[in-house]
């Protein structure tokens, strides 16, 4: 099992370089290389699941090679209960992206596939790095392919969107880097584990917490630094939107769990209200914003912001739970919910963006008003779209339900009002999603373009079908996922409630 994670990182990157070298002239071969590589990556990631020891919170499948001896920086990889699901999710979601772009991308297709493959490797690197320097290396490197994806294949305002995307994330990340280096100077090494154990005064923790917050809040994105997301989503090509929503946003949530809580627990305890307030604003206010959107992608983008609000809420209610109940019983439930919500949102939002992509490829419009009565011409597609929409609203039996439910229960333990506002999303989510479905899918055929629609082809059916199965399986039987995360979350709660202030 040794070296598995390295293969997961470098195989897609190598394949991406090969596709790039094959060029647009040999794009037929390039497409197959991309598909084979992405499927191979998923298959190689499966032994991680089957060999994962669910009784320990420590890192597994560890790789540890010297990288920069002078800085004590290692090429260190490993996964635990919170990174493994995201690694597998990344490997899984790249396949639909490759398939969805199969014939749709006409300009510079080789670079398109190469960019996504390289990105897959880098994202897996982010989730599996155990060395903060390596983490940051992947975290930033990933901006390059995404910048190009939005800028080259995006819509009319793509340049604005992509530069905004890059600068927002870059701004946040630079301050995180400063915090990481500060801790390196204190700890003498870059290992994340050492950072988690490093004693820090409250003042230091506050600064570090704020630096992390800048990086992760932009990535999640949290209100009020979410404004890059709707722009980026609207202008990105379908594949770009899928990866953005399904994986990249998760990096912010992952960062909170991996860095903010364990590295700066005292500051987190002190500032948890800030995060909770911002999360609830995202859930409620952004929910209202989503309702009035005219553009399908923008609507789903805002819905992503609202759903990610649940992730940050779930991660930070732990302190109020401990305060209220006086014990650690059930304190990890919010984090459980946050993790399930991340995986579920990855599947559901990815699927919804693919649905929009299916419509866009046919009609070349994302405006809701250009559609209506799609079900008459595309019954199979309509079934999928309705399913994903319901999952987005958190219908029991779909994956969306599990995460939201866990977070709402956990926040109820913390405070009635948290859960009250969090539960508002059940109404708002239903309002914007179902209204979207009603206007696009149902009703009489709206115009001539809709009248000429053809139903999903085999390629699209496979993509949507696989995602649908995943959404339902996770909804009905989340137990394996929860069990996988349990020791890690438990350990995380211990770290989060302990104090690191030196005596």
């Amino acid at each position: 099992m040794h070296g598995l994670l390295s293969i997961l990182i470098w195989l897609p990157i190598a394949a991406g370089v090969i596709v790039l070298l094959l060029g647009d002239r040999n794009i037929a071969a390039g497409r197959w290389v991309s598909l084979v590589a992405s499927i191979a990556t998923l298959i190689i990631s499966l032994p991680l699941l089957s060999h994962f020891d669910t009784n320990t919170a420590s890192m597994q499948f560890i790789e540890h090679l010297p990288w920069i001896p002078r800085f004590n920086a290692y090429y260190g990889l490993g996964v635990d209960g919170i990174s493994l699901p995201l690694v597998v999710l990344t490997a899984f979601m790249t396949i639909p992206v490759v398939i969805a772009g199969w014939t749709v991308i006409e300009s510079r297709p080789a670079q398109y596939f190469a960019a996504f493959l390289i990105m897959e490797g880098l994202m897996i690197g982010v989730f599996s790095a155990t060395d903060a320097l390596l983490f940051y290396f992947f975290w930033e490197a990933m901006l390059i392919p995404m910048f190009l994806i939005i800028g080259i294949w995006g819509g009319p305002r793509r340049v604005y969107a992509t530069i905004k995307f890059f600068l927002y994330t870059f701004l946040g990340s630079v301050f995180m880097l400063a915090a990481l280096i500060y801790m390196y100077v204190k700890a003498g090494q870059y290992s994340i584990d050492a950072f988690q154990k490093l004693p820090l005064t409250l003042v230091e923790q506050r600064w570090i917490f704020v630096a992390f917050l800048l990086a992760f809040a932009v990535k999640v994105p949290m209100w009020p630094v979410h404004t890059w997301l709707p722009d980026a989503h609207v202008e990105a090509p379908t594949g770009g939107s899928v990866i953005l929503a399904a994986i990249m946003l998760k990096m912010g949530g992952y960062g909170f769990l991996r860095f903010s809580l364990p590295v700066a627990p005292d500051a987190s305890r002190e500032l948890d209200m800030l995060i909770i307030a911002l999360s609830l604003i995202a859930v409620v206010y952004i929910g209202f914003v989503a309702i009035v959107q005219q553009d399908m992608k923008k609507l789903i983008a805002y819905s992503s912001v609202a759903h990610m609000g649940f992730v940050t809420l779930g991660a930070f209610v732990v302190y109020d739970i401990v305060r209220n109940t006086g014990g650690l019983q059930g304190a990890g439930m919010g984090m459980d919910g946050a993790m399930v919500q991340m995986v579920s949102h990855g599947l559901v939002s990815g699927a919804l963006f693919l649905c929009v992509g299916v419509l866009y490829d046919r009609v070349h419009s994302r405006q809701i008003s250009d559609y209506g009565g799609v079900i008459n011409k595309m019954p199979i597609f309509a079934a999928f779209m309705v399913l994903f929409a319901l999952a987005n609203t958190g219908l029991p039996g779909t994956s969306g339900f599990v995460g939201e439910f866990l977070v709402i229960i956990a926040s109820f333990k913390a405070s009635f009002w948290y859960s009250f506002f969090a539960a508002v999303t059940l109404m708002l989510g239903a309002a914007y999603t179902l209204w979207l479905v009603k206007r696009v899918v149902f009703g009489p055929i709206a115009n001539a373009k809709v009248a000429h629609l053809t139903d999903v082809n085999g390629r699209e059916f496979v993509v949507l079908g696989v995602l649908a199965v995943a959404v339902i399986v996770l909804g009905i039987w989340p137990e394996p996922l929860l069990k996988m995360m349990e020791p890690t979350i438990h350990h995380l709660v211990d770290q989060a409630v302990a104090t690191k202030i030196p005596l």
Binding site: A141, F147, A178, I181, Y184
Partner: protein, 481 residues
């Protein structure tokens, strides 16, 4: 004291300079007799001479310790060895990149190459200087050669104007430097840098501080730090691009050595004073360089302001005032030079006879016209912006690290924020090349295979050193200690 018995072998550490003087004489003679008839002889001969020089330096010039020569006015140490080899390599690459450009502008003349070599000699002298006089000789030898190079295209009025500006402002800088040196000499009674470091001690007299101010101004002028940067954009823009390439690369190593030998070593006892001065200069430089670069429409001018902002980072390494900080500054300088080589190399290749590809708009849609050139430029721009996996990231990281080690919180925050501002204009170049369609009838880019291969190696180095940064980082730390 010094070894009084003279043997030829004792000169071995100075082989780089001695050989170069001989080579310059030979090339001048060849130029006189064969230069007119065979214009291609001199470029080839120069590259050959540089290769031989590097080989001789490796063979004879390597010293493990600190060797003083010529009545202790000259120092050979590992730092000098590394910097000289780097300068050999850089000048060779610069001349390789420039050849087609010079040919197209009918300024491919032997004198150009001789001037480049005398400038290189100035760089060497500066790198190995251990006395105020040696420093000054190095500075002037380098500066005078470069003034002539800027004015080399004698039919271009813009170039002549730039050369004039450069000369006048450079003379003021030399004056400031010389004036400061005279005060330090007067107060310490010695020209020898190591001796000065011994004789100056806390509390330093106001006279020393006054002299120090002039020295810092001189160094800031040479490096192009704000507010002494006015010459830099005009010279970068006005000079023939091949000369801009030269000015923007090899001399930076020399000026790094100037700052290190003069401030960090010679005036080491006054580190508290000069590091405060440099901190103020660095902040100004970072802010002005980055903000003004945002509004440029000319790529050469934009890169000039980018240079200024990078100088700000190099100064920050000195502000830390520790060996780790100097090592960071050295690493930053080397990385900056590597990337600048490539960036100006791309401009040289994009230019054709009668067409200077120097406006930003000339790069619109470069990807469609020349994917390879665009890809190289993309890597270089991301590197300068400090985005991994490229080497520029490590340079910035190293500076941040040095600043944290000395607890400069606000400098870290300011420089981090400024590197985000800087990212914008680098991204704009990528945007023009990759996202925009080409406009008008631009001539195709130049395709000499050798130069392209060299440029590809240059870009590959930016990536490889980014993936495996350890060897160069180690080297920089070792030679400083």
């Amino acid at each position: 004291m010094l070894d009084t018995t003279f043997t030829w072998g004792s000169l071995a550490p100075a082989v780089a300079e001695i050989y170069l003087v001989a080579a310059i004489c030979v090339i001048l003679l060849v130029e006189v007799f064969a230069g007119e008839k065979h214009p291609r002889v001199i470029p080839t001969l120069t590259l050959l001479a540089l290769a031989i020089g590097a080989a001789l330096t490796v063979r004879f010039g390597h010293v493990r310790t600190h060797v003083l020569l010529f009545d202790a006015t000259y120092v050979a140490d590992e730092l000098a060895y590394v910097l000289k080899l780097a300068a050999y390599l850089i000048v060779a690459v610069v001349l390789l990149y420039s050849r087609t450009y010079l040919e197209n502008r009918t300024i491919l003349k032997g004198e150009y190459y001789v001037l480049a070599l005398t400038a290189l000699l100035g760089i060497f002298v500066l790198i190995s200087a251990n006395s105020l006089v040696t420093l000054y000789i190095g500075v002037e030898l380098l500066a005078l050669s470069v003034y002539a190079m800027v004015a080399f295209d004698r039919d271009s009025s813009v170039a002549a104007e730039s050369a004039m500006k450069y000369f006048v402002l450079g003379a003021i800088a030399s004056g400031a430097l010389l004036y400061g040196m005279s005060m330090i000499y007067g107060l310490s009674g010695t020209l020898n840098l190591e001796e000065i470091a011994v004789r100056l001690h806390e509390p330093v007299s106001p006279g020393v501080i006054l002299g120090l101010v002039f020295l810092v101004v001189g160094v800031a002028f040479k490096l192009g730090a704000v507010p002494f940067h006015m010459w830099l954009p005009d010279v970068y823009q006005g000079a023939p691009t091949s000369v801009t390439l030269f000015i923007g690369t090899a001399p930076k190593l020399a000026y790094f050595a100037l700052a290190l030998r003069l401030l960090a070593h010679g005036l080491g006892p006054t580190v508290i004073e000069w590091s405060q001065m440099l901190a103020a200069l660095a902040i100004l430089t970072l802010v002005v360089g980055n903000v003004v670069a945002l509004v440029q429409t000319n790529l050469k001018r934009m890169l000039a302001y980018s240079t200024i902002s990078n100088v700000g980072f190099i100064l920050l390494g000195f502000v830390a005032g520790t060996p780790s900080g100097y090592a960071a500054a050295l690493y930053y300088t080397l990385v900056y030079v590597l990337v600048a080589l490539g960036s100006f190399g791309v401009i040289l290749l994009a230019s054709r006879k009668g067409f200077e590809a120097e406006e930003l708009d000339d790069y619109k849609g470069l990807y469609q016209r020349d994917p390879m050139l665009a890809l190289i430029m993309l890597m270089l721009m991301f590197s300068t912006a400090g985005v991994p996996p490229f080497v520029g990231f490590w340079a910035k990281l190293r500076i941040f690290q040095a600043l944290w080690e000395t607890g400069h919180l606000w400098l870290v925050i300011i420089s981090a924020a400024m590197s985000v501002v800087g990212a914008f204009y680098y991204l704009r170049v990528i945007k023009l090349m990759y996202f925009d369609a080409p406009v008008g009838d631009l001539p195709p880019t130049a395709r000499p295979m050798g130069v392209r291969a060299a440029l590809a190696v240059n870009a590959a180095a930016v990536l490889v050193l980014g993936l495996l940064p350890a060897p160069l980082l180690d080297l920089c730390s070792r030679v400083i200690h």
